[in-house]
Symmetry: C2
Subunit: 400 residues, 2 copies
């Protein structure tokens, strides 16, 4: 049944009303969070709720300090200006992304806008305790003097396998972490609620909410960076987590018989065979030059570089063919250096990325590049927090 | 919100009540269909609805002729016998499964019981028109004199890619079919409503409802037969169909560099590398001997047979490792000759099937054999029909 059918059912007491109200609040707040400024008539149309119900819900969200009602763009024209509902600028989440050589900390406003971002450079190998100390210091500095901001919680994007239920890092091979309770330690240190998840999955959440994956129900996502290749999938409009949160490990797709040893223990994984480092080296870029990798690959005429690109593209084809056969997505989103590889190879006449997939499964499938760039992981980490807020605004605000 | 919270909300009029009633009817009928005999107190407990609501729903389903209320097993003991609700024996679906050398037609009762089953032997290659003619003849014969049976519709299990929206067979390479409107033709011929889907996906539906996948929310399923290898996945409790119904093509997982040419056009697919025919030949069984393949593989000491088994098992390991890394299931279900291969290889000391998967993704994952045997596809095909019936009993009965 639709929310609209239920909204008029208002008995005097009982759990049903509360559950309905929470569900409707979540619908409205989610729309304003993802879509930006919306008029009340937009909300009426998008939710199927009636006008007075929408008015009540917006008033309740405004009372909680989560949305603001202001003048819309039509305000200067003739006729009554249509007031627009937008997220409050004072509600934010902290996002933390430990990388191999730095801890990145961001402040992300409701609505997915990155308000602040710092990069704390570190030695290459460090413990979870050091990471927590650095992140907590960065967070304290970032929030100093920001008395107007209400921080709802912390989201952490970890390049490794994270158990969703409690934010336990099961394995992050690039740091040498095994079974580290990162989320619990950071919560203890900061006094804030903390959620953690795999970085690639959070990149997918960000792209799904605000980027290349907006409104797409069946999506496969692969992203490559300095610390390897990750991914995730959306099926039937829902993020596929798997039984414990580890789904979408496309970096460990088998792509070559008798291939290289992978850090996971197997041989011939995509992540072991295709690396950002090698592609950078092939076109003569330094490790820090990943942002110019795409244009360098497009421009290169060096035969050795072309050979590396051709080999890597062929292996990426094998991995995406498998993913398309397994998930039958409507869109494949490529991020990080995989987007650069795709752009470079196609510019040099490489065949369609999905040409090896089963005909019907690949039919009409679009291959697109991720849109959110380097802020992707911070936005995705903040989504972990905002999803909890949206699901039950009043409950989470009581903690913040 | 739970169904129980809603069930007490009963305004005098409006769409909400109808939608609630339909949703509650679907819940009750679905439980009786999947779980068999249930007392009213079982239903009260399982649905969270109150006793009188359950009573009303059962009465309505009984009025529609979908369930019967009878004496329970406790009838002979002291105290009041607890009446049990069970599916009506007169409600059934037709299941059709075209195979390479036969058309199999079944009559499957609500509750997933195969009541009748015929196998119409055919020449090996045939057109869709011939298949429809043979199936319609078999159906007519099967229903002759069965005036007490109410046939709700026809479900077709096709070894090929089928577009879910209209039952169009996009590609069935073993028959040479491309873009054949099988469901529409069979509907026209029989006057019954027809749904069609990929056979392996229907095997998964059957195992999910009544077999090895009962109650499992995250599941990967691979099944092998004479016409190749198929599969499917359940994620978060829902069958993953993909954008157009082609998800789960695990037979086309890449497993070997420079491998054999596959019928899909690619090289090195699992289905091209690992075949039932070769395994049967290795242990000296005829094509029709698939049911004894498992025990023959367990018993064999022939070095050549052991070598074929070892090779095939290694390739199956690659495919399942990919599927586990991609889906992070809690259970991998193997059916058909893949179950036989698994049993045989393990009996001869082969390593864990999932040993190559990422550590966290494979942790706690169980590998089990499919339970429903040769009736699996008929039960799954009937599920296509029963799912529609359960979703809206009154609407579908109006057509039957």
């Amino acid at each position: 049944m639709s929310a609209s059918e239920l909204s008029t059912v208002r008995p005097a007491s009982g759990g049903a009303t509360d559950a309905l109200r929470r569900s409707n609040l979540a619908t409205v707040l989610g729309l304003v969070h993802r879509d930006g400024d919306l008029s009340r008539s937009d909300l009426t149309r998008l939710t199927g709720l009636n006008r007075s119900t929408v008015g009540d819900l917006v008033a309740e969200l405004a009372g909680l300090g989560l949305v603001e009602v202001g003048e819309g763009p039509g305000g200067g024209r003739a006729g009554r200006p249509s007031p627009v509902v937008r997220v409050s600028e004072s509600v934010a989440a902290i996002a933390v992304n430990p990388e191999v050589d730095a801890v990145i900390v961001g402040l992300v406003g409701l609505g997915g806008r990155v308000l602040k971002r710092i990069r704390i450079e570190t030695a290459s190998a460090r413990s979870v305790a050091e990471t927590v100390t650095l992140a907590a210091a960065g967070i304290a500095g970032m929030l100093a003097g920001e008395s107007a901001i209400r921080v709802i919680g912390i989201g952490v994007a970890v390049p490794g396998q994270v158990r969703l239920s409690d934010g336990m890092v099961r394995e992050a091979t690039h740091f040498g972490w095994v079974d580290e309770p990162l989320a619990a330690l950071l919560a203890e240190r900061t006094g804030l609620r903390v959620w953690a998840a795999n970085a690639a999955v959070l990149g997918l959440r960000a792209e799904s909410a605000f980027g290349a994956g907006r409104g797409i129900d069946d999506l496969v996502y692969l992203i490559g960076g300095a610390s390897g290749i990750g991914g995730g999938a959306v099926g039937g409009g829902r993020l596929l987590t798997g039984a414990a949160g580890y789904a979408g490990e496309f970096g460990h797709t088998f792509v070559r018989t008798d291939g290289r040893q992978c850090s996971c223990g197997a041989r011939g994984c995509l992540e072991a065979e295709v690396t950002q480092e090698e592609l950078l080296r092939a076109v003569g870029l330094p490790s820090a030059g990943a942002t110019s990798l795409g244009s360098s690959l497009v421009a290169t005429e060096d035969l050795k570089a072309l050979a590396v690109m051709e080999r890597d593209y062929g292996l990426l084809q094998v991995a995406t063919r498998n993913a398309v056969n397994a998930f039958n997505p409507s869109t494949v989103v490529l991020g990080g250096f995989l987007a650069a590889l795709y752009r470079g190879a196609r510019a040099h006449g490489a065949p369609d990325l999905l040409s090896g997939a089963v005909h019907s499964a690949r039919e009409g499938v679009e291959v697109v590049e991720a849109q959110l760039g380097p802020d992707q992981l911070l936005i995705g980490a903040a989504e972990l927090v905002f999803a909890e807020l949206i699901a039950d605004p009043a409950a989470l605000l009581a903690f913040s």
